[in-house]
Amino acid sequence: MTCEHLRGSFELYALGLLGESDEKSAIAAHLDQGCPACNARMKDALAIQALMLSQAPEVLPPMRLKCRVLGAVGIQPMGWTWFAALCAAAMLIAALWYGVISSERRRQRDEARASLAEAITERDRLHSAFQFLQDPETKQYNFGDPNAPHGIVYLHPQFGLLLIASQLPPVPQDRMYQLWILPKHGGAAQPAGTFRSASDASAVYQLNRRLNPADISGVAVTVEPASGSQMPTLPLLFVAPIG
């Protein structure tokens, strides 16, 4: 076949659609022989084919396909891997830093709250004691010697009792001072609460309950287990007589 006979078949040849026809064999032969006209037509046919195929409606491939394609030829998409690793490391460091900072701030906040609560409690206690001392119905009873536990007991029928003591002996951590009300007409000592001393061996303790001074002969203090006792453990640390 001449080149002219074949000129309309190059597109089908390029598409692989000539089957086992004579045209296919003839074109292959012309191309193998380096026929300039046929080679030029073949290139035109391939160019038209590429143009036609590039008209396919656009469909976006999934993101994973790039990694899959590069992986198939043994390439790791390093750029994004490193970028992702750096981002992850930066986020991890930021999270750790934020965690440490948050923990420290939380601890400082808790400490501040505890200090504030203590200060408020102390303020309320002092305010109550001040009210106690200012009231005209409050009665004062001194006790003890200067070189031994000594102090003042204030009694009020409504507010109760306020004990201010000094020179208290130190007690172990698992022990506390316990106050006892001693009835005037005999009978068992009544437990009236536990308390600790301050670092200067002094203590201020208030018992908020109605008390009738006429029924009380005195108040005593003993050293007891931290949970308190129902009966005083002798010896008595001191006794403050009332009346």
Partner: protein, 206 residues
């Protein structure tokens, strides 16, 4: 059985046209591929990955199969880049042809298509075939002109072109599919290809 022609909507064609804009000839990319530079493969995928996937998807109409065949296409290009003429070879037409042939091979391997022409396609897509093709083979103005020519074809001509390019049917298979005489189908095909050929020639001449 009559084929329902899939008319390409204007916006889709425009999107495809935009994709083609990026497909400029790049001898350096081809040289890097021959040196088996890993970054060249990444650049090749960035440049042609969307087109290859879209083309294969258009032919096989299955996303999972399209992924497999896209991977196969790039693997084939990577392995055959040694035979590619880095100075005169046209990378875009080559990779598009390899992609189309992988998809047509897949269609022909299905039970409904008895004849297998895998070896024939492999010969046609050899890298040496793409030496000397115009650098601007996929230039947007040419794609636009070819699209305009395609739009002016008769419905029958469009149908036979779609069957040839996207389904890989021979004229005899088209005649059977369309239940038309072979000579009629060949006439439609000849008319359509003449129009495309003329359009491409005019586009190349500027």
């Amino acid at each position: 059985m009559k084929l329902h022609l899939q008319i390409i909507p204007a916006w889709v064609a425009f999107a495809a046209l935009l994709a083609v804009v990026r497909l400029k000839h790049d001898p350096k990319l081809a040289q890097r591929l021959r040196r088996r530079d890993p970054k060249a493969m990444t650049a090749l995928y960035d440049r042609y990955g969307r087109l290859v996937y879209a083309l294969i998807h258009r032919i096989v109409k299955d996303a999972h199969v399209a992924e497999d065949l896209t991977q196969e296409t790039f693997l084939r290009v990577w392995n055959r880049a040694q035979a590619f003429d880095t100075e005169k070879g046209a990378l875009g037409p080559w990779i598009v042809t390899v992609a189309r042939n992988r998809a047509i091979d897949y269609l022909r391997s299905t039970p409904a298509r008895s004849a297998s022409r895998t070896l024939e396609l492999a010969d046609i897509e050899h890298p040496s075939r793409f030496t000397g093709i115009d650098d601007e083979a996929l230039a947007p103005q040419r794609a636009k002109r070819v699209q305009a020519t395609f739009d002016r074809l008769t419905p029958h001509q469009k149908t036979v072109l779609e069957l040839a390019y996207y389904e890989g049917l021979t004229p005899a298979e088209m005649a059977e599919r369309l239940q038309e005489p072979l000579a009629t189908v060949q006439a439609w095909l000849e008319g359509a290809l003449n129009a495309l050929r003329e359009s491409a020639r005019e586009a190349a001449a500027g």
